[in-house]
């Protein structure tokens, strides 16, 4: 998405920032560019949103290594809110971005000591462990964190990714199920669970995967991954020790799914003969199965 900086007024930029904040999109490079080009001089006009904008710019500046901007904005916030723990967190994040992890840990420990219920600095400490490559420690700490803050979706999601990286698919599935409890109508979570189950392999898991994929498809009929997933699951189950009546049913379902994929894709795809590429799935499926063990 390219934005025309010369044509955007400060209020347009402010609205764009607000949109990104609400959608929890980071867009760090664009935030920094827009800040420097437009909003920096006019930020005092934004009223109550000023502090939220400053926080957004600090994080974007740390992401893009613009430490000058980050320090300047943090100073502005510190002037208005002296001794604030929220501003102290940004100080710790700056150390983290500079890879001065020990100093960052010290600041975060001070914040945690002052306020035990503050979740953010605990998560930052886990992020530091991850950045240092100490994945197993990060998993341990995240588990401890989740015992206290059980309803933190973001944390469950992160723990799921960490377990996947370690190959612990069962535990990853459990974490994703926790996220699903908070978002029962999200087709993406159903689909992600299906993928984890499929990867685990075995008839039971693939059957579960098929149910999750079907639910994802029900929630969003355009979910291409769910359609492919249903095809893969049906194929796997049909080739395994299935009863012959079920086998026909599975083959029909798989065939339907593949046709849907072909239809959806070829309508919009710019790749030549994309339908032939999709049909190649039928031919090749016997030969390829990437096992997780």
């Amino acid at each position: 998405m390219s934005l025309n900086y010369e044509e955007m007024s400060w209020s347009d930029v402010r609205d764009q920032f607000r949109k990104w904040r609400e959608e929890t999109g980071r867009h760090s490079e664009e935030v920094v560019q827009l800040w420097v080009a437009v909003l920096e001089d006019k930020v005092h006009k934004t009223g109550n949103e000023r502090h939220l904008i400053l926080e957004q710019v600090i994080i974007a500046a740390l992401d893009t290594a613009r430490f000058d901007i980050a320090t300047q904005c943090t100073k502005q916030l510190a002037l208005e809110f002296p001794g604030s723990l929220r501003v102290m967190k940004f100080k710790a994040m700056r150390y983290e971005a500079l890879e001065q992890y020990d100093e960052a840990d010290e600041v975060l420990d001070v914040i945690i000591a002052k306020d035990e219920t503050n979740a953010a600095p605990r998560k930052r400490k886990i992020a530091i462990l991850k950045a240092r490559g100490r994945r197993l420690d990060a998993i341990k700490e995240l588990n401890e964190y989740l015992k206290k803050f059980m309803s933190d979706q973001e944390a469950w999601h992160e723990l799921c990714s960490m377990y996947l990286a370690e190959g612990e698919f069962g535990k990853a599935a459990f974490c994703m199920e926790e996220v699903l409890l908070h978002n029962p109508h999200s087709h993406l979570i159903h689909q992600r669970l299906a993928e984890i189950r499929y990867t685990m392999g075995g008839v039971e898991n693939v059957e579960t995967a098929r149910t999750y994929y079907s639910q994802a498809l029900k929630l969003n009929p355009h979910n291409l991954r769910a359609l492919y997933g249903i095809y893969l699951c049906c194929n796997y189950l049909a080739n395994s020790r299935a009863v012959s009546s079920k086998r026909k049913e599975l083959q029909k379902l798989g065939q339907w799914a593949l046709e849907q994929v072909s239809e959806h894709t070829t309508k919009q795809s710019t790749i030549k003969n994309n339908d032939k590429l999709i049909l190649s799935l039928e031919a090749a499926l016997g030969n390829l199965e990437i096992k997780s063990n």
Partner: protein, 203 residues
């Protein structure tokens, strides 16, 4: 044991993919000429695959099959696998995501290579090729060890890629994940198949 020659097209797409998602791990396939010239394998093209959740397999299976058919059509073969690790300092093969895909590729194509992007060399100014290439040694089981590779027209390629990175060209790269989100996205990245000189005129 063989040597590899990476074309500017493959290197550009590889680096663009890693640069487009600096905060995530990415992976993709490398397409090579079917017949190797002696012990030299020519890597002609790169197909970017995924940038999220690399450890789950269903979409990888779908992608591999489609790309196999595509490669066949173009007179090429899937000759390698590349990946960029998530953590800045991870550059060893055993810490890379989804290495099983590389093993599978090697079963089908003996001289397959495994390219790992060296995160420390990923800057806006490339002085050296920011990859490490490994190839398979020994008959039984896939054991990867460092292999020699050259970048075709090394200085011009590195300069061209650096310039395009500074101009933000990597944002237009499409990987298989983008295609699955919206089928109109072209994972063959046909528009990037021009020479680097022509691309520089676009940005």
């Amino acid at each position: 044991m063989c040597d590899y020659k990476i074309s500017e097209r493959a290197y550009t797409k590889l680096i663009f993919h890693a640069a487009k998602y600096p905060h995530q791990a990415v992976n993709g396939l490398l397409l090579a000429e079917k017949t190797s010239k002696g012990t030299l394998v020519e890597i002609v093209d790169a197909i970017p695959l995924f940038h999220q959740c690399l450890h789950v397999t269903p979409m990888a299976e779908v992608a591999l099959m489609q790309i196999d058919a595509y490669a066949e059509r173009e007179g090429l073969v899937i000759g390698g696998y590349y990946t960029a690790p998530e953590n800045f300092y991870d550059n060893q093969i055993d810490k890379t995501p989804a290495a099983k895909i590389a093993d599978k590729i090697q079963e089908n194509f003996k001289n397959a290579c495994f390219a790992v992007v060296d995160n420390k060399l990923m800057t806006l100014q490339h002085d050296r090729a920011a990859v490490q290439v490994y190839s398979c040694v020994g008959e039984s089981g896939a054991r990867w060890s460092k292999a020699k590779f050259t970048l075709s027209q090394s200085t011009q390629t590195l300069e061209g890629v650096s310039l395009l990175l500074k101009r933000g060209a990597m944002r237009d790269l499409v990987d298989f994940d983008n295609h699955l989100d919206s089928p109109e996205n072209d994972w063959t990245n046909d528009f990037l198949n021009k020479s680097l000189n022509d691309l520089q005129k676009l940005y």
